[in-house]
Amino acid sequence: MVDLSINIAGLRLKNPVLLASGTVGYGNEIAEFTDLNKLGGIVTKSLSLKPRKGNPPPRITETPSGMLNAIGLANVGVESFLNDKIPFLKKLNTTLICNIAASSIEEYVECTRILTLEESIHAFEINVSCPNVNEGGLEFGNDLNAVGRITDRVKNATNKTIFIKLSPNVSRISDFAKVVKENGGDGVSAINTLVGTAFDIYSRKPKIKNITGGLSGPAIKPIALAKVLEIKRNVDIPIIGIGGIMDWKDAAEMMIVGASAFQIGTVNFINPNAGVEIVEGLKTYCEQNSIQNISELTGSYQI
């Protein structure tokens, strides 16, 4: 019998499959197509203190083996999340991680403080790496001091597990992971999307209104793997791997390079049952390869 459960930064997940923030809203829509109770956890759409309308359309465009998005952190805000979204989420038998995106350090702290009071939330993922907003986002994600300060302040506002979601749009991502660790962060999520753009050659206009967007999908998997490996080899901190995972093989690869758990994002748009299929695929893979506990895979690369 394979044990798919994992411990990451003191958090126990029934399996390493998490649904990535911004790709499953607050869980209710995708629940029409899949059994969320079978997954390790859900990371909810980035929350800010007040609701955000998000960017004007067009917000997305397809690119070779990927897509660009500039949603702009559209979200219902903390208050509506607690009143309208939590009732559905708390009924699920899975781990709930809340992603927080803010435009000031004070706002990160305030969101964390308020949401900490909600028992059904198990952990936070702090988004310091959204490429599609003017304030906050990459402005913080590119700045080692800012990431350190945010980690420290947020950690002091809660007794729950804190993951910091890192940007790949930096020269050395492991330096950021190190700062997270030094400031008391429990783990890192890597990677957020890569800044990209696409233009229409006839109108010569950008295909998304925000001009640049975040690139996701299979196109970024090799980059995500390299970034996770870089962190694993340089910093002793638990990693949630993210970037281009489409199936159980991609997931196994992500764990081998160093991820304790992983998130799937873009694939949810195409196959809303992908998470459950990955759980099953990994189980078979472990059985066939005499892996008793899936956590044996983490960082098991042979270099």
Partner: protein
């Protein structure tokens, strides 16, 4: 809503660039309502990566029909499907037309392939409704009359019917049409819908529009297809809150 592996029954070439595909999809067919759509995975690999949204054109027993033209790699791949091959459908998605009551004459206003959702709507209209169909296109090559009745045609180049836009044709016909209580059901390119919307809002005509938008998921999780409501609230989503809207309720 289902994700259903569906078998291609036939791909019929309607004109140079326009195709009608018939697929066996019993679960989705049993739920589909006029004006809804399916998000279709056209390949089994990641090229193209995302699904493509298509209006449900018609339903016959366990079969669904989709009308499309080739305008990119995705639609090209669908046009090359052979009978017996499979397509993965996700649907039925979105809200359809409100067509059951409140009017006597259904006025179909379609631009080009905007005709797509109407065969299924007409099939489901209560039998006491009159129908008039106004179809517009750049030229007569772009006119598809698929399943419509009582058709009047407008072409931009005058190659068939009224020389002008379909909205101008509606303006010409409105005297006759407005003798009965009517509701306009419209679908087409954005500039056409915008012109129609202006006209209907000015005159307070009852009008529902089916809006097209690039989307990834089709059911609300990607937030990729926002549309501004006229009441100034937060964005609606074309996939989940539409694709059919009251013409006066959204900004195009």
């Amino acid at each position: 809503m289902y994700v259903e592996k569906s078998k291609v029954e036939s791909v019929q070439k309607i004109s140079d660039n326009i195709f009608l595909i018939k697929v066996l999809s019993p679960s989705i067919a049993s739920l589909a309502k006029p004006g809804q759509f399916c998000n279709i995975k056209v390949s089994e690999n990641s090229f193209p990566l995302l699904r493509r949204p298509f209006s449900i054109c018609d339903v016959e027993d366990d079969y669904l029909f989709f009308l499309f033209d080739i305008h990119g790699e995705g639609t090209k791949l669908i046009s090359e499907k052979k009978p017996g091959e499979s397509l993965e459908l996700l649907g039925p998605l979105g809200n359809g037309f409100d067509y059951k009551d409140g009017y006597d004459t259904a006025v179909i206003v379609a631009g080009g392939l905007g005709v797509a959702p109407f065969p299924f709507l007409l099939k489901n209209l209560p039998t006491n409704k009159k129908v008039i169909s106004l179809l517009g296109g750049r030229s007569n090559k772009n006119i598809v009359m698929q399943g419509l009745k009582n058709v009047l045609i407008a072409t931009d180049d005058g190659s068939e019917g009224f020389h002008g836009t379909v909205v101008d044709l509606l303006k010409r016909e409105i005297k006759n049409i407005s003798q009965n209580k009517f509701r306009i059901f419209a679908c087409g390119p954005n500039p056409m819908l915008k012109a129609l919307q202006n006209y209907c809002v000015e005159n307070n005509y009852d009008c529902q529009i089916s809006v097209e938008c690039a989307m990834a998921c089709g059911f609300g999780i990607c937030q990729g297809c926002p549309i501004d409501p006229t009441n100034g609230g937060t964005y609606l989503l074309v996939c989940k809150d539409g694709p059919v809207f009251e013409a006066k309720s959204v900004k195009l």
